[in-house]
Symmetry: C2
């Protein structure tokens, strides 16, 4: 793990690292915001998973969360959204499959299965890496994300409820098996048997018995991808109601799918996670 | 003036407009953040001038000021940094001259003088436009900016002390006649007689008698352009000391020239301007 950039922000440091990932079998980059408190003690961490087409750079540049992380003494880990590199398969004509579109799952099909293992990367390799190499508390972590990354946050938390203190999401893909993005990609990554897809669908995970203490979701009502039926928060709400899974789904009037929406509510999300992480 | 985009953020709206500028003789775009208070009353405005290579988009995306503007009930006006378009002269091999590099002055030399009139645009045409077409109070305005835009904010305020309630800057070019950027551009825009350049140099304006109630400047100590001698805050400090012009110059340890630096302190700047605007 090699530090390749460091920028002071809000009293802490926004650093970028690269390393040879044993999970994804390629060089991976990620960013970490270390709040000022990390200079004198280990701090808890929030993992932020970004959406389609993003790298680790989008959220750290546009979401405006570093100031809140500094206020609450929480580190933020920004992984990339897929494996990268010339040796990594891609579909250059598609933004929703291949590089920038890992969907936070472990692919089982060729040509994807060697590198596209973002689920293991985010839940296992990356935490071990940052907890061993940076002033970050072992095992005290929460997770959030946007769109495809909101989907990633939900499945990581639901599949590992003891590993995360809290979970939230902005505009998440709640039920990928029923939307165009999921239908168009899960088959490529996971093969034709849609039974295997259910392990990466938050709505279906809850239907099959997965539980988490609480789930916070913000969804804008003027979100074009919500209108297209890509996000389906109502499906998640229905299944949570059916099995009494706590869900705070806030339909935010007039907001779209952009980082301007995230920036509007990220302070509340950071405070929500900090309350779980700092107890 | 035609609205071409509207995005909800922090309870208000981030809008983009375009219009045919009678000052710059071309189509100009700009953005305005209208805080939620603007739905029921006219609000004061902060003009934000961006730096070299920027458009109106950079600060609205990366500086994170909308949430503070919403909190304080202040509109933020984001002009472009130069005239634009195929008919507008440019130096495509240079980032510091031509489009994206208007230096907030009125050019007097060919081929620049027809379009490059950003000083008049920012101080006259744009305020008239937004005050007549949007819920923005007439004549209740402040100004701030970054780098070339910090220079712009300082000269606009110093040359029009009754027009602005307050002025601040991040990493401003304080003394363009003595730095590479100014020496390399002012001649092109203003001609060989450097006496005419003094009208657009904050340090020299103060030396020649310009006054403003107070000036707030944040400058990072790890700013590469500060190290290169492009910014020269010490020159401004020296002349302010000599003529008893109030100046709060904060050398911020370890910060660079980026938007991460701006994001770290923009909340304090918005509060500073809001205090002047809301009295």
């Amino acid at each position: 793990m090699k530090q390749i950039e460091s920028i002071k922000e809000s009293g802490g440091y926004l650093n970028r690292y690269e390393h040879d990932s044993t999970t994804c079998h390629c060089k991976m980059s990620f960013s970490v915001y270390l709040p000022p408190q990390a200079e004198t003690k280990k701090v808890p961490a929030l993992y932020w998973l970004s959406g389609l087409t993003c790298t680790d750079d989008n959220a750290r540049t546009k979401a405006g969360m570093q100031r809140y992380a500094a206020e609450h003494g929480v580190a933020v880990i920004f992984p990339d959204t897929s494996p990268r590199g010339e040796d990594v398969p891609d579909e250059i004509d598609r933004y929703d499959l291949g590089q920038g579109a890992g969907f936070y799952l472990n692919a089982t099909q060729s040509p994807w299965k060697k590198h596209y293992r973002m689920y293991d990367y985010v839940t296992r390799e990356l935490p071990q890496l940052v907890e061993s190499g940076l002033p970050i508390l072992t095992g005290v972590k929460s997770i959030s994300g946007h769109s495809m990354g909101g989907h990633g946050a939900l499945i990581c938390a639901l599949k590992n409820p003891r590993s995360y203190r809290s979970v939230s999401a902005f505009s998440p893909i709640c039920n990928p098996l029923e939307c165009g993005w999921g239908k168009g990609c899960f088959g490529a990554y996971l093969g034709g048997d849609s039974q295997t897809w259910k392990a990466y669908d938050a709505t279906l995970l809850i239907k099959e018995g997965a539980k988490f203490s609480d789930i916070l979701i913000d969804q804008g009502t003027d979100d074009e991808f919500y209108d297209e039926g890509q996000l389906l928060p109502e499906s998640l709400q229905a299944v949570c109601n059916a099995v009494s899974q706590p869900l705070t789904l806030r339909m935010q009037e007039g907001y779209d799918h952009s980082y301007h929406f995230i920036a509007s509510f990220i302070g509340e999300h950071i405070a929500y996670h900090a309350a779980a992480l700092n107890t």
